[in-house]
Amino acid sequence: MTALVEVNNLSKAFGGVHAVESVSFSVDAGQVYSVIGPNGAGKTTLFNLITGLYTPTSGEVKLHGESIAKLLPNQLAERGMCRTFQQMQICMNMTAIENVMLGRHLTLKSNLLTTLFRLPALTRGEKAAREKAAELMEFVGCGEYLDTEASAMSYGALKRLEIARALAAEPKVVLLDEPAAGLNAVETAALEDLIRKIAEQGITVMLVEHDMKLVMGISDRLLVLNYGRVLAEGTPEQIRANPDVIAAYLGG
């Protein structure tokens, strides 16, 4: 197997605070790879560095062997990397399905002329995009909200909607930042199924999550961060048995 995402010696400092320090790991294609750690360990900062929202202080990130540390988020989307957010980023001025259709942006080639005069090519593309978006909403389990205004949807449904939008971009790797935060036990179980189904389609999933039961159940490998540094890396069994991890989580 080849490494899809490769992180080498990645560091990010905010003034004197080293949020992420010399972090290295690699994720193989098709894996479910989770990043865990106590609050403030630098998990979200790590995701923001990988997805181009932050520029690293030093180190590099590679996608398919190409260095991507200086690329913008939209350029990463073009290369097959998409994500969701801990603080959900939904366009509240649109309906649910329009949010997902937004995810089809890169696959919809449109120019100003076909748009302004609404030529048949545009209508066809829109119809196909809508069908695909409806299919994805069904897939993530919010199919009943198609034409609902996003602002009228529940928190749990919006979290699934955000995943549908990321999948609409047909990514090779999708990064989910705390998808289970704020969900109840039933919703979390459904989320676990959903992540499995995404992985079955051959999409690599990277996950930041606090829910240990969820993470241990679905991850192929885990990365444990503490104070911005790598504390441990390995399979769920290795992590569970690692004394450093136990100390960090339980104190001692």
């Binding site: 989307a77 649109m94 942006h105 748009t115």
Partner: protein
């Protein structure tokens, strides 16, 4: 939803067309036609500004600058250099598009108040140039603009024309022309909104981060909508000049920029038909209030304040909301 949105789009356009073509039945004198023509042309510019402000969530407090540039470009090219009106209008729009793109690229990186200040400055600079370049623009005294002409055929408010065998006055002809221009402007704007480009524009308003992680180049789309709205202003400005027959730098003034943005906010940001209502109200209000003489500005301000406090979403969205609620109540539903 797409079906619903396109239905709505056509409904708005049909409604507007009916109003535009039925209005002459209620108008009687040249003053009324003149006012209606002026409103239609300004409303066209406001529809364009709404693409930027209402849909993409960016602000421009200097949009009259582009309106004025379009007006003066056409005035100078047709008046001083003898061009025909349509090539002058088209070349003017291209020139304004280029200026808007060059100016917009750097300033659209700014957000909120900073963007307001930068666009404000752009408007001021344009107004100052129009005021100071006396040899070309006539300075504060303004300059005359020849009538609008198409292939040697002139459209003048004082002319007499015949359309489908009917004799129509120049005022009515201008009004119908401006009305058709407004309908086309609305049709193009609504096509733009209900498309992948429109979705990308609205996503810049909704969540720039979300837009960028699914591949929307937000900087590019902000520039695009800025240019489009500037072109709208330029074209409407050019027609406005031809219609008035005389322009002064006040067409590019700060006051006029503020008036344009107020029309958008009052009518309802993101509602194409709403902002036209905003334009109608703000153009008619001074006419109605003229009877109150020195109290005019006070009443004007008061009406605006009350509208903003009690209808922050604007006239049309508030009214639509109210009607939907009443309908669902009378149907016994609680949704």
């Amino acid at each position: 939803m797409m079906a619903r949105l396109s239905q709505f789009r056509l409904r708005g356009l049909v409604f507007l067309a009916i109003v535009v073509f039925a209005l002459p039945l209620f108008l009687s004198n040249p003053f009324h036609y003149g006012l209606a023509t002026q409103i239609a042309l300004i409303a066209g510019a406001v529809v364009g500004l709404n693409l930027l402000v209402g849909f993409a969530g960016q602000i421009s407090l200097g949009h009259a600058g582009f309106f004025g540039l379009g007006a003066y470009f056409s005035a100078i090219m047709t008046g001083t250099y003898g061009w025909s009106a349509i090539p002058a209008l088209v070349v003017g729009a291209v020139v304004v598009a280029i200026i808007a793109w060059v100016v917009g690229r750097p300033i659209l990186r700014l957000k909120g108040h900073y963007l307001s200040m930068a666009t404000l400055a752009v408007g001021f600079i344009i107004a100052i140039i129009l005021n100071n370049e006396r040899e070309i623009t006539g300075g504060p005294d303004g300059m005359p603009v020849p009538p609008f002409d198409v292939f040697g055929w002139e459209l003048s408010a004082f002319g007499q024309y015949s359309l489908f065998g009917m004799d129509i006055s120049g005022d009515l002809a201008w009004y119908l022309f401006a009305g058709v221009v407004l309908l086309v402007a609305v049709w193009l704007a609504q096509n733009l909104i209900d498309s992948p480009i429109g979705r990308a524009l609205r996503s810049v308003h909704g969540s720039e981060v979300a837009a960028s992680v699914v591949g929307v180049n937000t900087a590019k789309y902000k520039s695009l909508v800025f240019v489009i709205s500037a072109v709208y202003a330029s074209v409407m400005g050019a027609l406005y000049g031809h219609f008035q027959g005389f322009i002064t730098p006040s067409v590019a003034s700060f006051d006029f920029s503020i008036l344009l943005i107020t029309m958008v906010v009052l009518g309802g940001m993101g509602s194409t038909i709403g902002v036209i209502i905003g334009a109608v109200v703000l153009e008619l209000l001074p006419q109605v209030l003229a009877d109150f003489q020195e109290m005019e500005m006070v009443l004007f301000g008061l009406i605006l304040m009350l509208t903003m406090i009690f209808m922050p979403k604007g006239l049309l969205p508030t009214a639509a909301n109210f009607l939907t609620k009443r309908r669902s109540k009378s149907a016994g539903g609680d949704a």
